[in-house]
Amino acid sequence: MADQSAHPAKDPLARIAAPAITSADATPVRQRRAGAAARILSGPLPWLLPALGVLGLFYLYPIFEAVRLAFTDARLFDTETQLSMRSISSMVGSSTLGVILRNTLTYTVASVVGQIALGLAIALLVMRAERARLRGTLALRTIVLAAWVIPAIANGIIWQLLFSEAPFGAINSALRLMGVAPVAWLSDPSNAMTSAVIATIWQGTAYSMILLYAALKTIDPALYEAAAIDNARPWERFWFITLPHLRAALVVNAILILIMTLNMFDTILALTGGGPGRATEILSLYAYGTVFQNFELGRGAALSMLLLVISLGLTVVLIALLPRDRR
């Protein structure tokens, strides 16, 4: 053996270990490695890591956990769980799910459309007032924003007081003063959804107003002046100038409001608790009830997954509507 190692040329292993060759090869490797590390360190990654860490811990990990739970028969207080498709199949087979999805659809569409339309209307009004150099536009914006600052659960309670059918219910009292018969805002199943939508729109409008107001601010006022000289009617100005400019802002607004509304939970919980019956029970509330009232953790996770899939699907559809240069 000693002989063999003395003849490096005959022993391939020894040749690899030969000092001259090693140093000649390793230096560039080390340099290359150091170069790659420097490249990573000088790139955006180190700066993104803290955010990635927080997002991963508080967003990605729970999603991952929810996906895992959806494929188990977990119950809230049972430690024994096993993999199973039962949660998903019972969710899909449930007759309640149809009602819940229909409620969710009605609630979401009405709320999103209402928040965008009302937000746009107020934003246009503020712009118009500013152009006419009216006073009080800042106060108006602040008041509208105040609604948004209120926590959703408080919003639900406030509207419950307003809609209340007891003698102190503000809206019914006002109606009574005007000689109109009081309305069963929350106890009548056919009115409850409308009431829930009103409470949601009232709170969410501020957000969409601010977003659209900011977008309106970026429109060159000279365009409206050019249109005025071209004798364009108000609707033409809106159609040819305002709306095309707002397209990106409207789509982004719609995506954000859609997600917020689909996940809306606290306002309805405080306002109606999903009732009467299941009249205002939407998917998020249903998932909450499934987990925390029926303790069916697996099924609740499956419902959450369904909510996630619906949100993602609708977001993709909306992104397709974005102007090409903003995608």
């Binding site: 365009l223 002046e225 005025a228 071209d230 004798n231 364009a232 040819f240």
Partner: protein
């Protein structure tokens, strides 16, 4: 017809008066340029005529008919904006044809009108593009096309060339002028650029601090400024202003006595012994070969190729002289100047107004307000 008349127009934003007693009559097919420093109210004046701003008081007449109450769209004016204000989401063709939406024309007639306009402005190949895909000069043409196609009674231009580079500005200047001779239409053109005012206008309106300083043809404005403001504002370098006194037979300058033309003693009678401002364009100062005239010290020379501008001082007075291109002078050189007093304008330093008695030649008298 497109006769425009402004009768004592006032405009104020809150307590700030922006336009103060503006009187101006623009004849049909006339090209009038309003020029002045920024903030002088010239753009506001244009916007009042367009109807984008309402005059606080005064009457605005188109062909003798008051239009104060009409909306911009009803006034039959077309406007080219400083930043062009093209509709960014519409094609060039739609932008140009926008003003024809409600015209009593068939779709085909409208298309032909757009094509005719595009041909006139040489932008036919761009018709399908969006404004975002055009260069500054092309956008400028589209903006003009949008104005021309409606065949308005009055064209309004709000500093239309200020976003273009120098070469393109020069080219567009002559194109706008050429367009005006092809389609003679009353034009009110606002600019801060005195070269545009001098080269394009039939008549120039010089504004300062919300008031009209002088109205006149470019040569009237240049040769016989009515106020020291006009004298200083128009012309590059601006008019030399020399403190002087008339002692009965010569002008007494800080460091020289200059004999006056033969007809001055008669006219300057009341001004004997009083302080005056002698206004002289740089081209009316010339270098003397021999001593005499007005002594001055050279501060700086600027050879431009076709001429050499010499900046000097005489006592405390800074002067500029336009001299032949082969002038060779250095800082500190002592020179002697000849003043062409026959081309001078004299101002009263107290009122900043040109002396009413000068000049004598009625053809050179500026039309004043």
């Amino acid at each position: 017809m497109g006769q425009v008349e402004l009768k004592s127009i006032h405009k104020s934003f809150g307590p700030t008066a922006v336009l103060d007693d503006i009187n101006l009559k623009i004849a049909d097919k006339e090209f009038v340029v309003v020029v002045g420093p920024s903030g002088c109210g010239k753009s506001t004046l244009l916007r009042v005529v367009a109807g984008l701003e309402e005059a606080s008081s005064g009457a605005l007449l188109f062909d003798g008919r008051a239009v104060n109450a009409l909306s911009p769209g009803e006034r039959n004016v077309a406007m080219v904006f400083q930043n062009y204000a093209l509709y960014p989401h519409l094609s060039v063709a739609t932008n140009i044809g926008f003003g024809l939406r409600r015209a009593a024309m068939s779709r085909r007639e409208k298309r032909e009108a757009v094509e005719r306009t595009a041909r006139l402005l040489e932008i036919e190949p761009l018709l399908k593009r969006r404004p975002g895909a055009l260069s500054g000069g092309q956008r400028q043409r589209v903006a003009m096309g949008r104005a021309i196609i409606r065949n308005p009674a009055v064209f309004l231009f709000d500093e239309p060339l200020s976003n273009l580079d120098a070469r393109l500005r020069m080219q567009m200047r002559s194109e706008i002028r050429g367009l005006h001779s092809k389609l003679p239409t009353t034009t009110l053109y606002v600019t801060h650029d005195q070269v545009e005012a001098m080269t394009m206008a039939d008549r120039v309106v010089v504004m300062n601090a919300g008031r009209i300083e002088q109205i006149g043809t470019p040569s009237q404005i240049y040769d016989t400024p009515r106020t020291t403001f006009v004298a200083r504002f128009m012309g590059m370098p601006s008019m030399n202003m020399i403190s002087a006194r008339y002692d009965g037979d010569a002008l007494v300058l800080p460091d020289a006595r200059v004999p006056v033309p033969a007809d001055w003693p008669e006219r300057l009678g009341p001004w004997v012994g009083r302080a005056l401002l002698l206004g002289l364009r740089p081209e009316h100062l010339s270098l003397r070969a021999s001593p005499g005239g007005v002594p001055a010290t050279v501060d700086l020379t600027e050879p431009t190729g076709s001429e050499t501008l010499v900046y000097l001082h005489h006592g405390d007075t800074r002067l500029a002289a336009r001299t032949p291109p082969d002038t060779r002078l250095r800082r500190g050189d002592q020179v002697h100047l000849d003043l062409r007093l026959d081309r001078a304008t004299l101002f009263d330093p107290d009122t900043a107004l040109a002396l009413p008695t000068l000049p004598a030649d009625p053809s050179k008298t500026g039309e004043t307000v």
